[in-house]
Amino acid sequence: MTDLTQLGVAQIRDGVRDGDFKARDVAEAFIAQVEKGRALNAFVIETPEHALAAADAADAARASGDLKPLSGVPLGIKDLFATKGYQTTAGSNMLKGFEPVYESTVSGNLFAAGAGMLGKLNMDEFAMGSSNETSVFGNVLSPWRRNDGGNAGITPGGSSGGSASAVAARLAPGVTGTDTGGSIRQPAAFTGISGIKPTYGRCSRFGMVAFASSLDQAGPMAHDVRDCAVMLEAMAGFDRKDSTSLDLPVPNWEANLSSDIRGKRIGIPKEYRIDGVPAEIDAVWEQGIAWLRDAGAEIVDVSLPHTRYALPTYYIIAPAEASSNLARYDGVRYGQRVAPENGNLTEMYEATRAAGFGAEVKRRIMIGTYVLSAGFYDAYFNQAQKVRALIARDFHQAFESVDLLLTPTAPSAAFGLGEKTADPIAMYLNDVFAVPASLAGLPAMAVPAGLDGQGLPLGLQLIGRPLDEQGVLNAALAFEERAGFKARPEAWW
């Protein structure tokens, strides 16, 4: 019998449907794998009973002939999604023990589609980080190691580090991620998997712990393009409970998948060639261009002149929104409370928030508070929102002449744990290629392209027009077919 944990989302769905194996067997195989993979620290909590119940329901549904789109597929859920009755912490001490009485729309959609939950996935605290080193539950390890024979811990990227690690190590066939400034795409690139951030508004933000509301988007992470399409179809959809949700039907992305991209025009933004990026990144980018050309696409040079301002813009807007979004963690209605003896309300707030938040979260709250404070609003926040409009306009203009953009996903391969924690800005630079599409709300997907000299994965990013997830997925599929990325991390855990 095949090792069921080697299968992807679509394969499991099809296999259960065709009676090749039982959903129960799939769930048990992954549950065992999750237990075996604890050294990766990818899961915050394991929920085998949820996965098994969904599997049994799937097996029963097959018998009665009413299988759902994800029947039999066990998934990992990032701990940013509220899961009813299951601890939801956003990787923060602040929410340790918090059990929501409600379900996020995205996880609810997946469960309604028949999926089960293997557990909640570790992440950077409140999704703030690019290396999964800010979680109160500790660092997540990538299953990948450098090919130097050493056993140095490698980051899976962040903030969806637990998600990326779990898929790459085959602890789960697919997972949810969230992307505020690259948190799906950068970890996907670091771990050699695929992940798509859809157009802002495709997936409801209801029940997703907010980091930066105007940027946060949920999306799937999985082994390949098809699996991402399958999962995104189940996750996305209009939701009245989110005012920014798009009132549009969910396209049949999977059914319309096609790697025939002949005649598509693909832009190569010159501003994404930046100093200090390793030659291997440029090389893999050139390789990617060649593959798409081979697939019949026309390659066009384009300019996105405000690209270099995207990261500073992001580091004003995201902390500003976060400083406000995280004000609700005050020790009054849920979560941790630290109340000094005989302390007043303000002292309770200050002690609670000092103990509940980690260093990076505090840093961003402070930055956000500062840029919104009296006298600085126009110079920082309003200026950033104007530059953001210019960045979106750059994309809009580029998309008048091209259908898609191809860029690197991250400026390097995965780095070692601890290597960048001392310098926040060096860490922030990880998202230099991911952030512009976030600011403009565009669909963007990371696909693995190859390995670098140290044997670590490198990925490229496809960015599409608003709502053109199909175009992105199709080009990614054409890319995937040519890249033939089959590398796997060796199981050392």
Binding site: V101, A327, Y370, Q385
Partner: protein
């Protein structure tokens, strides 16, 4: 622009985060560094540019005026660190 320790304390106070002297000393140069870096936005010519208001063109949907929620006091209080007699409880506020 320069963030001194007094500013750090002020910001921490606004954000309701207790900071030790050592943290203040450490945060001041860090925040300075980050704010100095984002400062480069000042050089962008934004004349005639409206600040972004909607990430993706979309319009605000409004709810009907109907009572569809509430009556879930126990659920609302379920995760409260301290709840008594149907209320959340906080250290006494002297007004």
């Amino acid at each position: 622009m320069s963030v001194d320790t007094a500013t750090v304390r002020h910001i921490a106070r606004l954000a309701r985060i207790a900071v030790s002297d050592a943290e203040v000393e450490a945060l001041a140069p860090e925040l300075n560094n980050i704010l100095g870096w984002v400062e480069q936005l000042q050089e962008v010519d934004v004349s005639g540019v409206e600040p972004m208001t909607a990430v993706i063109p979309n319009h605000l949907r409004l709810r009907e005026d109907q009572v569809t929620d509430g009556g879930i006091r126990d659920a609302v209080l379920a995760n409260a660190p301290v709840a008594e007699h149907g209320f959340f409880a906080v250290p006494k506020v002297i007004e």
